[in-house]
């Protein structure tokens, strides 16, 4: 008889950061929280990660910015955001009223940008942690994308870490030769956790107009299409480092989230699915509870990395 009632402990922790449940919403798929509040009780989420913020406003890329592919979406929004001042003065007051963690995603185009952001966000009340987007070009180093160079990323994360007392999550890009090497340098630099993966660089061409579908030519691929690759990366990274891993990539239901957890993720982020069904995050939490009840487990954290443990040689 499957147990269907009870109250398993679904809390999780990312180092010093304690979450009421392991389901967050990914940056860029949830606006600043305001757009989703018509549809769900935001307090039921483990954490909210608003749209990435930069020091100054970013207008974003010209349209078209979107194209749907098989099981996924290509986007080239271009990190449009109103800048730190507007974020702090106009977006934080609402986010601060919520009874859940707010993890602020931020990005820059130089070490200086990142450090100044980390310093200033450190002073803003109501923030539980920071998530650093390192998939941006370093304009003071000829536009090399930070996360493609382990050394550059190491130095950046180390300096940002010094600039803030808030827990620091580094969001890893899958567009690298060896994501575990990146994860290790981020861990060595003092990050509290890593989140992976960001979108896959991709494109589509319209065969009738013979032009790329996105004005920016390239975009980031997200959605169910990327899940198996993201899962493999979470498996590898969680084996390579000791700090907590947050799994991201094509999660649309509890079963997807559970795969990431069994692969070694301490928490997950729902991304693209927030755009299709705004209540997905809440449903994933519900599904995880049901799963725990079904298998008579009291604590969510027991599941973390369980698939790997089953593969260990039995002595």
């Amino acid at each position: 008889m499957v147990k269907t009632t009870g109250n398993p402990d679904v809390s999780t922790s990312l180092g010093r950061m304690k979450l009421k449940n392991p389901v967050m919403v990914a940056s860029g798929t949830f606006g600043f929280g305001e757009d989703h509040r018509d549809f769900l009780d935001l307090n039921q989420l483990g954490a909210i990660i608003p749209k990435g913020v930069s020091l100054r406003p970013v207008p974003g890329n010209p349209p078209p910015r979107l194209f749907e592919t098989e099981g996924g979406i290509l986007n080239s929004i271009g990190l449009q955001n109103p800048g730190l001042d507007v974020f702090v003065n106009e977006k934080m007051p609402f986010l601060r009223t919520l009874d859940t963690c707010v993890i602020v995603n931020f990005f820059g185009n130089s070490d200086k940008d990142y450090i100044e952001l980390a310093e200033r966000l450190n002073e803003v009340p109501g923030i539980s942690g920071l998530e650093m987007n390192v998939s941006c070009p370093n304009m003071s180093r000829g536009g090399i994308v930070f996360c493609t160079d382990p050394r550059m990323t190491y130095e950046l994360v180390r300096d940002v870490k010094k600039a803030t007392a808030l827990p620091l999550v580094v969001k890893l890009s899958p567009n690298v030769t060896d994501i575990t090497a990146m994860a290790k340098s981020v861990e060595d630099a003092g990050a509290d956790a890593v989140s992976l993966v960001n979108t896959f660089r991709a494109m589509a061409i319209n065969i009738h107009s013979r032009k790329p579908e996105l004005a920016n030519v390239f975009g980031g691929l997200s959605g169910p299409a990327i899940k198996p690759i993201a899962l493999r990366m979470v498996w590898e990274v969680s084996q390579a480092i000791k700090i907590p891993v947050i799994g991201i990539g094509g999660i649309t239901k509890a079963e997807d989230a559970l795969e990431f957890v069994l692969a070694g993720a301490s928490a997950v982020q729902v991304g693209t699915a927030n755009l299709v069904r705004p209540t997905t995050g809440m449903e994933v939490v519900r599904g995880i509870r049901k799963y725990l009840l079904r298998y008579h487990m009291d604590r969510f954290q027991t599941l973390i990395g369980l698939s790997k443990k089953t593969l260990l040689p039995q002595i």
């Binding site: 860029g28 798929t29 949830f30 606006g31 305001e34 757009d35 989703h36 018509d38 549809f39 749209k51 406003p57 207008p59 974003g60 010209p62 349209p63 078209p64 910015r65 979107l66 194209f67 749907e68 098989e70 099981g71 996924g72 979406i73 986007n75 929004i77 449009q80 109103p82 959605g223 169910p224 649309t252 693209t272 927030n274 755009l275 299709v276 069904r277 705004p278 209540t279």
Partner: protein, 271 residues
């Protein structure tokens, strides 16, 4: 306030060529929806297509409508263009679809009291979003311009003819009405609107049409609002995917789903 909900198919029929009329029972959206607002709809229970698609509401019936079979229904006119709309053509009475709505800012009606001089200009399936405005004017002061590539693409003519005798039609190939674009036809008729009265123009159609129209209505006596069509992912403001470039110097890209879909045509910045 928008809701994420399900709707039940009441009817789904082919009205002409690749165009279909879908009536959905969905009181939480049908009751509050206003002229120019839209819904996001997804017909497939499976994973593909992934995203919902935006549709304007052609007609809505209040929950107190005299015909009980119509109460709380929405009508959408759609064109079969891709996989998603192909799947929609197979929807049967009683089946469910996923919906979010009502979304966006609708049309602003002419200020009251006014002479309510209204001109509706729609290209292709764009005309659909304008029908709900027809009742806001009087038959003598309502002019409708309906355009399409061929006569097969000219929609809702008989419905408009029931509310006004001033219905003008243009087709690119001349198979019905004026041969040329609907903007060409409007330009040729423009003189009749000269005078001291303001004409409130409402338009919807492809970007190329709206760009042409923005030149034609750039001066008095016209005040023009346009409902824009762009690719959307969420429809409710979260993704910033559906933007249009405006003359706003601080934030040039505005979200069509949230700040729109209705804009003052003069605020759009054309390439």
């Amino acid at each position: 306030m928008a809701v994420e909900t399900k709707g039940t198919i009441v009817s789904n029929r082919n009205i002409q060529a690749d165009y279909f009329r879908l009536e959905i029972h969905c009181p939480p959206i049908a009751q509050p929806v206003k002229s120019g607002q839209f819904v996001m709809l997804r017909a497939a229970p499976g994973p593909s297509p992934l995203l919902k698609r935006p549709f304007s509401v052609y007609q809505r019936y209040s929950v107190r409508h005299p015909d009980p079979g119509r109460r709380g229904n929405l009508v959408i006119i759609y064109r079969r263009v891709g996989k998603g709309t192909e799947r929609m053509t197979q929807l049967k009475r009683g089946e469910e679809v996923e919906l979010i709505g009502p979304l966006g800012n609708g049309f602003r009606l002419p200020p009251l009291p006014s002479s309510k001089n209204m001109i509706l200009i729609g290209g292709g399936v764009g005309i659909v979003s304008l029908f709900s405005l027809a009742g806001a004017s009087s038959p003598e002061k309502l002019f409708v311009f309906v355009g399409g590539r061929t006569k097969e693409d000219v929609l809702c003519l008989s419905d408009f003819r029931k509310v006004t005798r001033h219905v003008h039609v243009a087709t690119d190939d001349g198979s019905l009405g004026f041969k040329g674009t609907i903007v060409d036809l409007f330009r040729s008729e423009k003189k009749r609107f000269d005078g001291k009265d303001t004409w409130y123009v409402y338009s919807c159609g492809p970007m190329a049409m709206l760009k042409g129209l923005s030149e034609a209505v750039s001066s008095k006596p016209f005040m023009c609002q346009a409902s824009l069509e762009t690719r959307m992912a969420c429809g409710f403001g979260a993704c910033y995917g559906c933007v249009v470039k405006t003359k706003d110097p601080e934030t040039p890209y505005h979200r069509v789903c949230k700040e729109g879909p209705v804009f003052d045509l003069q605020d759009i910045l054309w390439d």
